[in-house]
Symmetry: C3
Subunit: 264 residues, 3 copies
C-alpha cells in the first residue's frame, strides 16, 4: 500500500507543469527513499529526472517498491483541480491499476478524490554517474528563463560560454544576432539573486533553445537554477525543490554539424 | 414611455454576461413590478428567469406593460461600452422600435447614448409554480463555479448527491473518476462563506456539466448560489441580485438512458 | 559614429509598440537635433511622425546625419528583450549595414547586445507645414482609447464633432447607433484628467475607426492626447513624450462618398 501526504500540494502541481511539456507518459517510482521519475522526452533528446525524498512528505508510507505508469497530461488535468492551499495525498493499493489523488482544503470543508487509471509503460532506468563539470553556474531562475525566451525570438540555438567573469548566452538568426552577458555577482541583498560561477576551465557549448525553454517551465519551483557544463557531457539544468529534492534536465550539446547526441 | 435608471450600472452588465451564452434573443418584459426576462436556451433544455424589481432602480417609470425583443449579444456589446462606475438608464418611447441605453460617468463629464433596434420575438411565458424541494444547498458561488469547471476536465455530466452531512459532486470520464464533497459548514467568519444544507430527504441527480458551466457565468452577481433539488423537478440554480431580484436557471435532470427532459 | 543612450529605455519600447502596427519598414533619421521618423502606413492613408530630441538622451553622439532603414517588427522583437528598467543605447558605425541595441540592467549585472541588419528603404520626407486648426481637443489618452475601442464594436467610422461645450464621438452600424459626449472640464484634481477645448469654429469630421484604434497604441506614452481638427486638413492625433518630443499621427477625414484622401 502507498500513501503519500504532501501538505504543500501546490508543489506537486508545479512539478507536473514543469515536466508535462517534455514527457507524455512516464513511470513514477515509489520506494522507501522517495517518489521519483526518470524519463526521456518524446523525441529522445532530453532526459528529465525528478526526486521528492520521503522526508519531505508529512506522511510517507510505501510498503513495497512500486512503479506507476501515468499519462502526465491526464495527471496534470487532475492536479489542476487541487486548490493552491490544498493538501494532496497520493494513494494506491498493491496490485491496483488505479491511483487516487485526494485533495483536502485547508479547513477540511472540501474533500476531493480523483482516481486515475494507470498505464503499462516500458522504460529503462539510466544510471547517471556523478561527474566533474568544467563550469557550474548558479543564477536566478527567472533571469535564465527570460534569457532563453528572449533569445528564442532571434534564433534557434544558444551558445553558452562561461569564463571567470561571467556567462554569455548568444544566438543568431535571420534578423540579426544577440549576446547577453551575466556577470558574476555575489554581493546581492538576497542570496537567491546572486550569479555565482565555479569554473575549472572555460567552456562554450551550443544547445537547442526549444529544449531550454521547456526546462524553464520548472521556474516556479525554485528561485535559482544551476547549470552544469562540461564539453564531453550533457548539460544539467537543475531546479532544487526546497527540503525535498530536485528536477534535473539533461541535454546533449549540439556538435559541429548541428547533430544532436544522446539518442538511443 | 419607459425610463429605468440604475445607479449601479455594472450590475446590468453582469446580468447580460450571465445569460448571453445561454440565450441569443429574448423579450425583456417591463411592468410596474420590474424588469424581467424568461427564456429557454437555444437548444430548449435550460430555462433562465431574471427579475430586477422596480424598487431597486433609482428611477423607474413604466407607463404601460412593454415587451422588448433584444439580441443579447448586441445588447452586451453596447453595455460593455459602459464604464463600471457608470449610471445606466434604459429608455424607450411607446411604439418605438428602438431602445436607448444611456451611460453617465460618475462625474457627469461623459455621457453616451447607445440606440439599439428591437426585434419581434415569439415567446411563450411559462408559469413556474412554487414547489417543495427535497434538498436546498446554499454555498459560495465561486466554489460551485470552480467545482463545475474542475469536473468538466474529467467528464460531461455531474451527479449531485445531498445528504445531511454534505453535498457530493461526482463525474466519470475516459481518464478516470472524480468526487468532490463539500461539508455543511455554518461556523464561518463571513456568512457568504457558509455551506448550508436544508434537506427533507436525500437526493441524487445527474446533470449536463455544459449547462451548469453556463449558469456559473452569473457568479460575479452574487457571492452565494442556491441549488434546489427534487427528484421530479428541474434543478433551480439561483443567484440573488442584492436588493433587486435574482437570476434563476432551471435544468431537468438526465434520466436513466441519459435523455434530457423539459423539451417542448 | 552614432551612440544614443536612453536611461528610460522602456520609452523606446513603447514607441515601437505605438507605431509597428501601422508601419512595417521605415527610416529612422539621426541628426544633431534628435532621433526621428516619418512614415506612411502600408496602405498610404495615415502618416506617423516621431521626434525624440537629442536633449532627452543621457548621451547623444551623432557625428553626421544618418538614415537607418529598419523593419519595425524585428526592431520591436529585439526591444522586447530589454527589461523595463534597462538603459538602452543605440549604436551604429559610419557606413555599417547594422545597428546595435545595447541593454544594461540597472545594476549593470546583465548586458545584452542585439545587432540588427539595416535595410534600404525608399522614402520621401513630406514637409508638414504648421497650420491653424479650427478646434483643438486635449483629453485623457485612456479615455480617447476607450471611446475608439467602444465605438468599433458598433461601427466602422467615427464622426468627431466639436462645439464649445464638448466633443462628440458618433458612429452607426448594423446593430444601432452610438453617441459619446465628453464635456469640457478644467476643474479636475490632476491636470492630466482635464478635457480642454480650444475652438475657433465648430467642426464635424468623419474618420476610419481602424486607424484611430491604431493610433491609440501610443496611449502608454502619455496620459493626455491632443486632437487637432480642421475641415481642410488631416486630423493630428498627438501624444507628447515627456521631455523628449512626440508621436503625431495624421489622418485625412473621409469625404462625402466615403472616399479617403491623402493617397499619393
Amino acid at each position: 500500500m502507498l500513501e503519500l501526504r504532501l501538505v504543500q500540494g501546490s508543489l506537486l502541481k508545479k512539478v507536473l507543469e514543469a515536466i508535462r511539456e517534455l514527457v507524455n507518459d512516464a513511470n513514477f517510482d515509489c520506494s522507501a527513499t522517495g517518489f521519483s521519475l526518470q524519463a526521456m522526452d518524446s523525441s529522445h533528446v532530453a532526459l528529465v529526472a525528478l526526486l521528492l525524498r520521503s522526508e519531505g512528505f508529512e506522511h510517507y508510507r510505501c510498503d513495497r517498491n512500486l512503479s506507476m505508469g501515468m499519462n502526465l497530461n491526464n495527471m496534470a488535468k487532475m492536479l489542476r483541480c487541487a486548490g493552491n492551499d490544498d493538501i494532496i495525498t497520493i494513494k494506491a493499493d498493491d496490485g491496483s491499476d488505479t491511483v487516487t489523488f485526494m485533495f483536502e482544503s485547508p479547513n477540511q470543508d472540501k474533500i476531493a478524490d480523483f482516481e486515475m487509471k494507470l498505464m503499462d509503460i516500458d522504460s529503462e532506468h539510466l544510471g547517471i554517474p556523478d561527474a566533474e563539470y568544467h563550469a557550474i553556474v548558479r543564477m536566478p531562475s527567472a533571469e535564465f528563463a527570460r534569457i532563453c525566451k528572449d533569445l528564442s525570438s532571434i534564433g534557434d540555438t544558444v551558445v553558452i560560454s562561461v569564463t571567470k567573469e561571467g556567462v554569455k548566452f548568444s544566438t543568431a538568426g535571420d534578423i540579426g544576432t544577440a549576446n547577453i552577458v551575466c556577470r558574476q555577482n555575489k554581493t546581492v541583498d538576497k542570496p537567491e539573486e546572486a550569479t555565482v560561477i565555479e569554473m575549472q576551465e572555460p567552456v562554450s557549448l551550443t544547445f537547442a533553445l526549444r529544449y531550454m525553454n521547456s526546462f524553464t517551465k520548472a521556474t516556479p519551483l525554485s528561485e535559482t537554477v544551476t547549470i552544469s557544463l562540461s564539453s564531453e557531457l550533457p548539460v544539467v539544468v537543475e531546479y532544487k525543490i526546497a527540503d525535498m529534492g530536485y528536477i534535473r534536465f539533461y541535454l546533449a550539446p549540439k556538435i559541429e554539424e548541428g547533430e544532436e547526441d544522446m539518442k538511443p
